[in-house]
Symmetry: C2
């Protein structure tokens, strides 16, 4: 308890260039606090119903000002993780109040060891949304959409999923499809699902070098969408998600 301090700010102090804490440029202090608390909550370190220490006490423990701490709490509140009330304190909300599809919350969930069941839930959502999105994309895609998908696919071929560039291309591909639906709500999901795909892909790579060549699956989806074959696109995407789930599941249970 008493030695939990100094995580956010310089711990040692005199080492010249080693500022490798959670605070880079572009990462504000309150963002770092929110990240710390967010991962702590998502990892189960604070359970729903738990009451956090008072503002003054907690801010002092973290060695930050009350303002910075409060702003971090506002972020968590905005994402449905906690709720603050005068006199009652700040308590962690039940899990069904959490905005699990918020990209940042998703990142926090995957910061530690991710819950297997939750990964399955995300794939179930992908299996529902992405085939339907592919169906719509096949109907509504423009020439520009097709070009974006083609470029992303080519980039996936060049790099592999083992590289960050390859994963970025993978995300671009899925994003291009969801954007082609011309549906803002689906595009919002795109960011969340894209993040999930990214994390799970990393896990796949962590386990074994290259579980399966993902290009053919993606190419089938692309061909169907480019051809305007709605049902074919939906089916191909369904296969793609199923295979991805299979690979990820085998990578996580070993």
């Amino acid at each position: 308890m008493a030695e939990e301090k100094g995580i956010l700010k310089e711990a040692g102090g005199s080492d010249g260039g080693g500022a490798k804490e959670a605070r880079g440029p572009g990462r504000r202090l309150h963002g770092a606090i929110a990240h710390k608390l967010g991962t702590a909550i998502l990892s189960g370190q604070y359970a729903p119903g738990d009451v956090l220490s008072g503002e003054v006490a907690f801010a002092e423990e973290l060695e930050v000002s009350r303002s910075a701490y409060r702003e971090a709490i506002q972020v968590l509140t905005a994402k449905g993780l906690v709720e603050s009330r005068p006199k009652a304190g700040t308590r962690v909300l039940p899990r069904n109040r959490w905005n699990l599809l918020d990209p940042e919350v998703l990142a926090w969930a995957f910061a530690g060891e991710p819950d297997v069941q939750f990964v399955r839930d995300l794939f179930e959502l992908r299996a529902i949304v992405e085939p339907a999105a592919a169906r719509l994309a096949a109907k509504r895609r423009t020439r520009d959409d097709i070009k974006l998908m083609k470029d992303a696919l080519a980039a996936m071929r060049r790099h592999t999923l083992a590289t960050e560039a390859g994963r970025a291309a993978d995300r671009d591909f899925h994003n291009a499809i969801l954007n082609a639906t011309r549906n803002d709500a689906l595009q919002t999901l795109s960011a969340s699902i894209g993040a999930a795909v990214n994390w799970t892909t990393q896990f796949k790579q962590r386990a074994r070098a290259l579980p399966r060549n993902p290009i053919p699956d993606h190419a089938r989806v692309f061909d169907a969408i480019a051809a305007g074959d709605a049902e074919g696109a939906a089916e191909a995407m369904g296969v793609l998600v199923d295979l991805a789930l299979e690979d990820t599941a085998s990578a996580m249970t070993r």
Copy 2:
């Protein structure tokens, strides 16, 4: 510009009990500011790329402290609506960065006259997610789930959708289905979709008294889920969403 002030706090000042502003008990000041700015952004009053006035200026204009204003900005930042950087100021992000499925953002979107296209997008999402959810619910529902649905259905029969109690029962029914899927990601969508259903239902009621008796549709879905008929549940839910879209569309275009 100069006369935009005094909206958040007491305007007159001497009226004894008339505090009917956007600040009830349980609604903090920074929440009210976030609401005000959020609705302004969602309604297009601030376009993506616009830069807000500086902290000091804007806080002064709103007649609130900088702390409260900053905490409100953190909320908007957490929902992807704005981004703040030193020297550059706080600017509204492009629409594809907005967390449109965040319940609060959704509420802001429906605070004014909602965009017709966006409502169509939401129904398209419902048409994708809810039938699939009904399919899963039919497979996984427990006796408790069935009881919750049955109770909600009964409540819908007693009250009508014209009453708040009736709409709450409608939400409970859909929530019960999504909870029965035992999928946390889908349950998170539940909150968003539930909110959307709520707002659109209000619009339906606004137009004509009772466009259609919704009970038979809901009852069909319930029967199929209770019987464990996955495909039947999916199909019945598809019909329900289609009819709801039809009613809402005709109510909005008149």
